[in-house]
């Protein structure tokens, strides 16, 4: 278990991890594809060594150099940056970014205002469900709406998930393009001074929103039971603030306060109340046509850190790096399997290298699966890149 070890053993364990377990070959191939047509050496990497020493503008020419660099520096954190028009150490401030994977970062601390089981750095299998919902919704949008295919999902190491899209169209997307994709996926707007953060209007809902609601509905009852959004007077107050109509709000408050504290029962009562209110007030309903949907979305829809997506000079944590505070491996997982992930089954550097640990066998199996997932993605990315280069070569020969 994590509690038995501390960060001080990391300098001893990391070299072994990097040599034996970190999928160096796949990593270099993945980055090379992402760099194409630029060479691997134009990709910026950054290391954070022990004592927070930060090294930027690093780059590697091939896997052998990567291995040597890892052995020499033994980074506690490994981050990946953009592809430049020159070796990053040469250009520095004048270098121009040519490409970078489209990335998404979802962190559970952004859900602190809705999750009741944990706050801040804490995370559990209950609030992990929010990540499952986020992953399924965003994955579907990226695949079906934007046609992206090389979508890599990575556990961030503690309390979130990252998504890396390596398709050529995504890598070469400029800043306005990234902003547009981020805004497309963003439904929750507003800071701490706003109680109601989702407004869907009264026109027909966009198909991506309808699809997201279908995903949310798959998990909504479970999440309500886990989080008990309506069980205490404070939580009920926050919930009521999301109802724009005063008359309805008063009704709901009276009805729910009378009931026992089960959130799922209170929710069902609210839905009935709302439907009844709609029938009785046909003309006033334009403002609240999608109230139920808006509330579901505010509780469960993905909360992206849009700054990470919009910028392309951000250095983001690499897949399969070790999180210094938890020791967990940033494993690659498949969106379909997100719901089966249990947080304590995620391999850690300690359990992987300690044969006597009770989790050793299971964690090693999960690590192998994660590497296999990564391998599948790299293979299909290489194939897609080969096809693309061939098509480009053919078109340039046409007169």
């Amino acid at each position: 278990m994590v509690g038995q070890y501390d960060e001080n053993v990391l300098p001893d364990m990391l070299p072994v991890y990097y040599t034996r377990l970190f999928p160096q070959n796949l990593f270099c191939r993945w980055l090379s594809c992402g760099n194409s047509p630029q060479p691997l050496s134009n990709r910026e990497l950054s290391f954070t060594l022990a004592d927070d020493v930060y090294l930027r503008y690093l780059s590697i020419n091939n896997q052998k150099e990567f291995f040597t660099l890892l052995q020499k520096k033994c980074p506690h954190k490994l981050d990946i940056g953009a592809v430049y028009n020159t070796k990053p150490s040469v250009g520095r401030h004048d270098a121009v970014v040519l490409a970078r994977e489209l990335v998404f970062d979802i962190d559970l601390t952004d859900y602190d205002e809705v999750r009741t089981c944990c706050q801040e750095a804490k995370v559990c299998d209950k609030c992990w469900k929010f990540m499952v919902v986020a992953c399924e919704i965003i994955n579907a949008a990226l695949k079906d709406d934007f046609g992206f295919q090389s979508i890599l999902w990575v556990f961030s190491g503690r309390r979130g998930i990252h998504c890396w899209i390596s398709d050529y169209e995504a890598r070469t997307l400029d800043s306005p393009g990234r902003a547009a994709v981020a805004d497309y996926l963003c439904l929750i707007m507003g800071g701490e001074n706003q109680s109601k953060k989702v407004h869907l209007g009264s026109d027909n809902l966009h198909s991506s929103i309808r699809r997201a609601l279908i995903v949310i509905d798959k998990y909504f009852d479970d999440i309500v039971q886990d989080q008990e959004f309506l069980s205490t007077s404070d939580r009920l107050k926050s919930f009521l603030k999301m109802i724009p109509d005063e008359a309805l709000r008063k009704q709901v408050q009276e009805n729910l306060e009378r009931m026992p504290t089960s959130s799922i029962d209170r929710w069902k009562c609210f839905v009935n109340n709302y439907n009844q209110f709609c029938k009785e007030n046909l003309h006033g309903m334009r403002k609240m046509k999608y109230l139920i949907e808006e509330i579901k979305i505010q509780y469960c829809y993905p909360r992206l850190d849009v700054n990470v997506t919009k910028g392309f000079n951000h250095l983001l944590k690499s897949p399969f790096s070790i999180h210094p505070k938890t020791g967990k491996v940033s494993v690659v997982f498949k969106p379909d399997n997100a719901k089966d992930i249990k947080l304590d089954e995620i391999p850690t550097i300690y359990t992987l290298l300690d044969d006597s640990s009770s989790d050793n066998v299971q964690h090693q199996t999960n690590m192998r699966t994660a590497v296999k997932n990564f391998q599948e993605l790299v293979f299909s990315l290489e194939k897609a890149e080969a096809v693309r280069r061939k098509t480009e070569a053919n078109t340039s020969l046409e007169f």
Partner: protein, 415 residues
């Protein structure tokens, strides 16, 4: 020539005539922006030589001046003019417009990534039954009788607001949105020209230098320079004159000793542009970030541990480190676009905003402000508050709501 301005005209003109064309166009654009009645002006007859020459000449001046506010004014004015002209086109005229564009595209090699989308749209618009439908009442708000397929990268504005359906990277733009799309393409084309044209050879041309001097006389903001130094201990006092957004940031900072990234970024740039020098900025932020954060905050940084990073960050914003980029402060539109919400008129609940502005519900201007909020006119609501509080109206020719900014609000309180 088309008033879409896809390609310039070639030829010679005497300078006095060129000057006349440019000045008259500038006057015309000012009246367009102020939404005054559009009076006939021989220099801006759509598709005429003078019209095209005037447009491209102003583009040159805008590019060479490099003043972001003047550039924004120009883009907005030309866009408004285009919208006005498009509105007055009947079906037959719209068809001619599309035919002319297709002819231009066929004859000239134009480097534009969305050219295919423009061509596709025009090909539809030259069909009689299609263009008649577009210009008729049957093409209602959500009509999708006809639609064109556009690569998602060529209609980002629609994508960002989820206004079109997208499948596998292809957006389907329905006929009811074609005019809006045409306007967006016009704007993109103009922006593209203003940011990509290399005019190095004109910098030293004496005729151009004279021209620029002439135009500067007509546009006051090109001559502006405010020179007031703001020190870190004056901020509390000056905050009384801050716009609500910045006042909110300031109060948040004083209460919690931390701000989110976007908030800190926007507030830092605001302070820089109202005259806070970099040494004072370091003092100001150190004073707050040295203190323990108050209340729930994800921020794990402290001045003690991360002093070097903080100072580097502040200096970077002032263009003194790294890429030495010249950051300009955020304007209202950009603030309103932040996901976490920074414009109080847009994202605060009523009680929160009444508290921030220190006005009562019974106040007469409050109901007006609320109405503007409901109409999504957040900048107007802010200006109304400004008017009421300071008893004056901000008066600048380039100043309309689209380019209002916290810095402008603050300087207006000083006049």
């Amino acid at each position: 020539m088309s008033f879409f301005y896809l390609t310039p005209v070639k030829g010679d003109l005497p300078i006095y005539l060129l000057e006349n064309i440019v000045i008259k166009r500038l006057d015309f654009l000012k009246s367009v922006i102020k939404k005054q009645n559009i009076v006939y002006n021989e220099y801006v007859v759509e598709g005429s030589v003078y019209d095209t020459v005037g447009h491209y000449m102003l583009c040159i001046i805008v590019i060479l001046e490099g003043n972001s506010e003047f550039t924004q004014f120009f883009i907005k004015a030309e866009e408004s003019l285009f919208i006005h002209r498009l509105k007055t086109l009947a079906a037959y005229d719209l068809r001619c417009f599309a035919k002319k564009l297709l002819r231009i595209i066929r004859k000239h090699p134009i480097d534009l990534n969305f050219l295919n989308s423009l061509r596709s749209l025009c090909r539809h618009l030259i069909l009689k039954h299609v263009v008649q439908h577009i210009c008729s009442d049957t093409c209602v708000e959500n009509c999708s009788l006809h639609s064109i397929k556009v690569y998602f990268k060529h209609c980002l504005t629609f994508i960002a607001k989820r206004q079109v359906e997208v499948k596998h990277g292809i957006a389907y733009i329905p006929c009811s949105k074609w005019k809006t799309y045409l306007i967006q393409l016009f704007k993109d084309n103009l922006r593209n020209r203003l940011s990509r044209t290399n005019l190095d050879s004109l910098h030293n041309d004496p005729r151009i230098t004279d021209f620029r001097r002439l135009v500067r006389k007509e546009i006051p903001i090109l001559n502006n320079s405010e020179n007031n130094i703001l020190t870190s201990n004056e901020v509390d006092n000056c905050s009384k004159n801050f716009p609500p957004c910045m006042l909110n940031f300031h109060q948040s900072l004083r209460n919690k000793h931390r701000l989110s990234h976007n908030q800190r970024f926007s507030y830092s740039l605001f302070l820089k542009d109202i005259g806070m020098p970099v040494e004072e900025a370091v003092k100001f932020w150190r004073n707050e970030y040295q203190q323990v954060p108050n209340g729930k905050h994800k921020c794990c940084h402290s001045w003690k541990n991360d002093e070097k990073k903080f100072i580097y960050g502040i200096r970077h914003l002032y263009g003194l480190e790294g890429g030495k980029k010249n950051y300009s402060s955020v304007n209202c539109l950009r603030l309103q676009g932040f996901t976490e919400g920074s414009c109080p008129f847009k994202t605060f609940d009523s009680e929160a905003i009444l508290h921030l502005l220190d006005i009562k519900k019974t106040d007469s201007s409050w109901s007006q402000m609320k109405k503007l909020q409901e109409q999504h006119q957040y900048t107007c609501a802010c200006k109304l508050y400004f008017q009421k509080r300071f008893h004056r109206v901000s008066n600048n020719v380039c100043d309309s709501n689209f380019n209002f900014s916290p810095v402008k609000y603050y300087f207006a309180t000083k006049c």
